[in-house]
Symmetry: C2
Subunit: 235 residues, 2 copies
Amino acid sequence: MTSAQPKPPMREALVDAAFELFLARGYEQTTIDDIVTLAGVGRRSFFRYFPSKEDVVFPDHERCLADMTEFLAASADTDDPVARVCDAARLVLRMYAEKPAFSVQRYGLTRQVPGLRTYEVSVVWKYERTLAEYLRVRFADRPDGKLRANVLAASVVAAHNHALRDWLRAGGEGDPTEAVDQALSFVRQTWSPDSDGPGGGHAGAESEDVVVVITKRSTPMWRVVREVESSLGEN
Amino acid sequence: MTSAQPKPPMREALVDAAFELFLARGYEQTTIDDIVTLAGVGRRSFFRYFPSKEDVVFPDHERCLADMTEFLAASADTDDPVARVCDAARLVLRMYAEKPAFSVQRYGLTRQVPGLRTYEVSVVWKYERTLAEYLRVRFADRPDGKLRANVLAASVVAAHNHALRDWLRAGGEGDPTEAVDQALSFVRQTWSPDSDGPGGGHAGAESEDVVVVITKRSTPMWRVVREVESSLGEN
């Protein structure tokens, strides 16, 4: 083809050039000068978009973190906070799933370069902190609100990353949405909003449709039935 | 005092000198040369103990991580895995609690220097991974074993760090053990070993002593009773 193709924006051109070089000769062996030369731009252009070589490996996290913050800030008080942080985590999934090949290549790089792994872990921590900050406000009226917020945020991030990592390890084939949904529902079942949750007692309605009764095996049946009845609101 | 005091080992002398300088003039403004000069040793001695300036800020994590790995490797198959990872997390607490003033000073440094914060986050991730690896083996026979291991490890680390951070923010006063125990028991109540837990199906015996029944609110009472009966093993 000889016809001119539309040039990608400079930021994307830098990312493309960087990954081409990282994959061909290795991350450590690639300099910022190499990247700007291949992209056909000056050094200052690089630093206009990326503070360091590490940042070009994760070009979308900052935007995604901003999207997540905005998404959570737009929550209503009536929103289920657990569902909300799960949906917020799905924004990260979408970012990875939009560019499967790129995501898998980057996953390979982060396995090889300890500095990139550290960078990635610190990005994950920023997501976790963002979720926790939202939950802390939502759980402000609970005596264990902060602890609950921090542990729940960590659980959501761990579940999300578990499913995401499986998908990346499998080469980014297919749609990771279902696996992430399953992993997040595992967390939601522990932390369902209407449940009193750990330490809060399990008896009573867990949601509009579900009733949970926990009883000792030795409890006489008539007591169990009475508890079920009172949970169901029947007398 | 003019009598000669026993000299601390060189490694500790380097840590002491480093922190004296970090606190007096700032982390970024202190060079490795400054540290070795104050400690009265050569540059090569520094690098014998610490790969980088960052590592001198966290001199005990490597040992603690090794202790944790050893502690978990020494587990019996009969150990409650959830209790075991909570005990493993307490090794980290002990390391901080042994040197309250040092831990609080370091906490201040990690708030001020983003690079140290990143380093700390990557250390936390190593602890989490160590706990998760142990749990993955213990949960190997569960269909959701890996997910459960990863989420539980993240929960334990988040709860531990929540209580530890509170103690550090309060200036390291008093004994943080009780607060950490409370935070960990919050997690244990969610993830009690005999519970089928989230995703594992709630109907049926949760342990020898506890029966859990989950039913839709619209389920007729006779069906609920039948399910309770069959869970209890009565007919």
